[in-house]
């Protein structure tokens, strides 16, 4: 063994693997698929932890919860959760979830997906599911770019932010997601960052128990692409940025909560209102039109 080799093995002290340690959340995770693919200092893992905690807090029956996700970094979420979960095609997480929610009204459907999936290619599905007020919870993980395919500019990339398809900075106006969700008809709209874990957990528990279309935008650090291209440091620096620049303003007017490049981020619960869901409205309307002739669909065990 040469001298440098010996020096190397001396500094590299590998601790013995700890086989008997089991994380309390392992019962909700497909452990055979971990470690996950998300980069070091990415916030999606934190958001998944918050989702599991929120699910535990909501005390919903695990058998009655389904998770759907689309394509992208956050699209992997469904594959790691030990629930009824489905990894759908690009942008089609909401149509699949709509089918689940209408086919089995007892099911609570959650969609965990990214901004590129839900708002770019799936943008129409988002606004129409919100318009119909279908009973589902959307967790939209916003990292401001298409991170899995190499950091291209997307519909949420802030003005002047650098992306691989916007080398001189992005000159398109971005979406204001809470405003989009509210104006489309969502009954619950909130925004948190990956740093506000306890508030995010409470918001997810609240949204899961809310009948109707609930939308939670979660700002998430993307260290490998967004932060690197814009020279913002790593995910930990972005977490510090959220700590200093996130302003909690519950009930804020969603028209004023748009995000600029490295600008203040207004977070909080913006909308929480009551509205009949798609199925309630359908049953009520058809009952008023057809009377006794109308037999409402009660789910797959209905017998009709």
């Amino acid at each position: 063994m040469s001298e440098t080799e010996q020096e190397f093995t001396e500094t590299l002290t590998i601790p013995p693997p700890e086989e008997d340690l089991h994380h309390p959340m392992e019962q909700y995770l497909r452990m055979e698929r971990l470690p996950h693919i998300w980069c070091s200092t990415c916030g999606i893992g934190t958001i998944i932890t918050a989702f599991i905690s929120g699910l535990q807090k909501s005390e919903l029956d695990r058998e009655k919860v389904a998770v759907v996700s689309g394509i992208g970094c956050s699209g992997r979420a469904a594959g790691y959760l030990r629930l009824d979960s489905f990894h759908s095609t690009h942008g089609r997480a909401i149509p699949f979830a709509t089918g689940l929610a209408l086919g089995n009204p007892d099911l609570k459907v959650a969609v965990i997906s990214g901004d590129g999936d839900l708002v770019a290619i799936g943008g129409n599905h988002l606004i129409h599911a919100a318009r119909r007020n279908i009973n589902m919870t959307i967790v939209c993980i916003n990292n401001f770019n298409y991170a899995m395919t190499g950091g291209q500019a997307g519909p949420t990339t802030p003005l002047e932010a650098n992306a691989s398809t916007a080398p001189y900075g992005c000159y398109e106006f971005p979406f204001n997601l809470p405003y989009l969700a509210e104006s489309s008809g969502a009954v619950y709209v909130a925004r948190w960052t990956a740093l506000h874990i306890r508030r995010l957990t409470n918001a997810i528990a609240e949204a899961l128990l809310k009948p109707g279309f609930s939308f939670i935008e979660v700002i998430c650090p993307c260290t490998t692409l967004y932060a690197r291209r814009n020279r913002l440091g790593d995910g930990l620096d972005l977490m510090r940025f959220y700590h200093d620049n996130a302003i909690i303003r519950h009930g804020a007017d969603t028209r004023e909560v748009d995000i600029g490049f490295q600008d203040r981020i207004i977070v909080g619960k913006f909308i929480d209102k009551e509205k009949p869901t798609f199925l309630e409205k359908r049953d009520q309307y058809l009952k008023s039109k057809l009377g006794e002739q109308f037999i409402p669909y009660k789910g797959p065990n209905d017998g009709h």
């Binding site: 994380h23 470690p35 874990i197 957990t201 977490m239």
Partner: protein, 103 residues
């Protein structure tokens, strides 16, 4: 937290205690747990795990108050905290100039 005298009800006060467990091989060295631990219990080690990341070490054994923040903020499911036996604070550690004095 430090006081200028020993509180009169110090015998009735219990400080919660958490037993920290770190799954070293799962860690990707992001440093969230070290940064946001309210009691500064953790520090990043100079050693590497099998993947080549620096993992957190417990710096102050017994200082964890079971707030579970590290468990919730860890993106890798690599650290967790189990509730331990609560303990009574030592009079020396709560008064000003005691060993736990901050700033």
């Amino acid at each position: 937290m430090s006081y200028w005298r020993v509180p009169l009800d110090i015998q009735e006060i219990e400080i919660p205690h958490g037993d920290l467990h770190i799954i070293v091989e799962r860690c990707k060295g992001c440093g969230f747990c070290e940064e946001y631990c309210p009691k500064d219990v953790l520090e990043m080690s100079t050693d590497f795990n099998r993947k080549g990341y620096h993992y957190p070490n417990i710096l102050k054994q017994g200082a964890c108050v079971n707030c579970n923040l590290c468990e919730m903020i860890c993106p890798e499911f690599a650290i967790f905290c189990l509730e331990g036996e609560p303990r009574h604070p030592d009079p020396g550690e709560v008064i000003q100039g005691g060993e736990n004095r901050e700033g």
